[in-house]
Amino acid sequence: MKRNRMKVDIASILVLLFAAGAQVTPAQESHIGGITGEATRGRHLYRRYCVGCHGPLGDGRGENAPWVDPKPRDFVTGTFKCRSTPSGELPTDEDLFKSVTRGLVNSNMPPWLPLTEQQRADLVAYVKTFSSRFREEKPSAPVEVPSEPAADQQSIQRGSELYQKMNCWSCHGKEGHGDGPSAQTLVDNRGYPIPPFDFSAGTRFKCGESNQDLYRILMTGLDGTPMPSSSSALTPAQTWDLVHYLRALQINAKYSKASSPPRTGGSVALNKQLVRRPEHADLF
């Protein structure tokens, strides 16, 4: 009986090995600018730098995962937060490259600037092998970011009305402190609690820091989280109004926060993280 099970186990290991081999065979590549990334090279880098968090199977269950919050990304589902593509779609190679380079603020995902561009491109190619979606689907055209109009008082005022109408405050709070009436109930697609962005916590976001990045964040949403896409709800002009309002909110939220007593240990840790962010903003 016991021996039988052993046999089955060996058989299934063999099957797994073959499957893993087959996974690399359709030579997954990435294309970033003029660089072509190769999954075969990325594999070795992944084993060295990423496996501890993202796990050997890319399912986000590396040995450090239990101590990491938010959890490392599960690459198998093909669901990513930072995209230039509409909600529900795969990210482009460039999107993944930017995430690996920039890291994700307010999380344990570090920036990988010490690696060369070629190495990061190879890693992107390897990350894509974990989900069959990258073989079956193509991301559609990136969201266009039109040029930014003036951030005048009227634009900020219109943006403030949209923040109200679109129920952003339900999660992010009236003053942007991430304490709206629904904030405590939010979970990500794996069931872990996830706090809404606190606009007093800094000017950087997971998916970038420029006004263009912010525009894109509003259009695409952060898939796998409660943060929705506004793409079918806002015109480009309205989206810019909202961007301008959020920038004003960031400043106001910081002051209104400073005058109130510190809240949770969480937000203190969050600030520390922001302080030790490397200064490579200008690169992207």
């Binding site: 529900g88 109408k165 339900s170 109930t185 898939d223 796998g224 929705p228 079918s232 709800a233």
Partner: protein, 260 residues
């Protein structure tokens, strides 16, 4: 009302069962026709005169608790729509235990046949800060139309396992959002703005599914003769499975009973 329809179904089933005794000419004819019906099926799901029906009732017995009131204080716009609190629709039963919003469907036996999705869209409404219907059945690749009839913004956030996960804000007065799902799955849908809003979209590759009505009844129509596994899925009580063999022109009556 529920019991009355059930008896009617029973009567019909017995009548058909009696006329189709084993070895009778009508039965062998049904078997012969099975293969040609299967071939014809890909062109649509009208199986001609030999197709049958699987109908019946779903009930729940024991362990029933009164529905909870929903607190909509998080959004004044929702609160205004419901001066008296809305009750949770997770479990909707009648006195005899008849259970609403159960998806009943063929889980096995349809084989590899493919079916064109219906032309008309499946419609999922946000009405009164609640989903209508709470449980929607649709075919894979059928168009799904999402409508917001409320004076407040909702975010529509399906959380699938096998389909694409997306999450879109729909403010009041916006035009319907058109989407679709391509893989078979029962997908929970959430509005994260209003945590009490819960719905399910069940996606099937075939047209043999139904959602139970208030009286717990369901009808799977136009089912070709064959051997099937039929499942009944409820969001709280889980899944029940029964096997059924359907002869030509037959109506089979099934009863599913959840005993939580």
């Amino acid at each position: 009302m529920g019991t009355k329809t059930r008896y009617l179904h029973l009567a019909a089933a017995t009548a058909i069962a009696l006329s189709a005794t084993p070895g009778s000419p009508s039965r062998s004819a049904a078997i012969e026709r099975k293969s040609s019906a299967a071939k014809a099926a890909s062109s649509g799901h009208s199986e001609g005169h030999e197709a049958g029906t699987v109908s019946g009732t779903v009930r729940v017995i024991g362990a029933q608790t009164a529905a909870a009131r929903i607190n909509m204080a998080a959004d004044p716009a929702c609160l205004r729509i419901h001066p008296t609190p809305m009750m949770s629709e997770e479990v909707v039963t009648e006195a005899n235990g008849a259970l609403k919003n159960v998806i009943v469907y063929i889980s096995n036996g349809v084989g590899n046949r493919s079916f064109d999705p219906p032309k008309e869209p499946a419609v999922f409404e946000q009405k009164g800060c609640s989903y209508s219907p709470r449980v929607l059945g649709m075919q894979a690749s059928q168009s799904l139309q999402i409508v917001n009839l409320d004076p407040t913004s909702h975010n529509i956030h399906p959380v699938p396992q096998n389909n694409r996960e997306w999450n879109i804000i729909q403010p009041p007065g916006s035009s319907p959002i058109a989407e679709t799902f391509t893989r078979e799955e029962i997908i929970p849908v959430r509005c994260n703005v209003h945590p009490w809003m819960k719905g399910y979209i069940a996606v099937f590759k075939h047209p043999y599914f139904a959602i139970t009505k208030e009286d717990g009844t369901f009808d799977l129509k136009d089912v070709p003769p064959g051997e099937y596994m039929i499942q009944a899925w409820h969001e709280k009580y889980g899944v029940l499975t029964q096997k059924v063999t359907l002869e030509g022109n037959q109506t089979k009556v099934l009863e599913f009973v959840f005993k939580p």
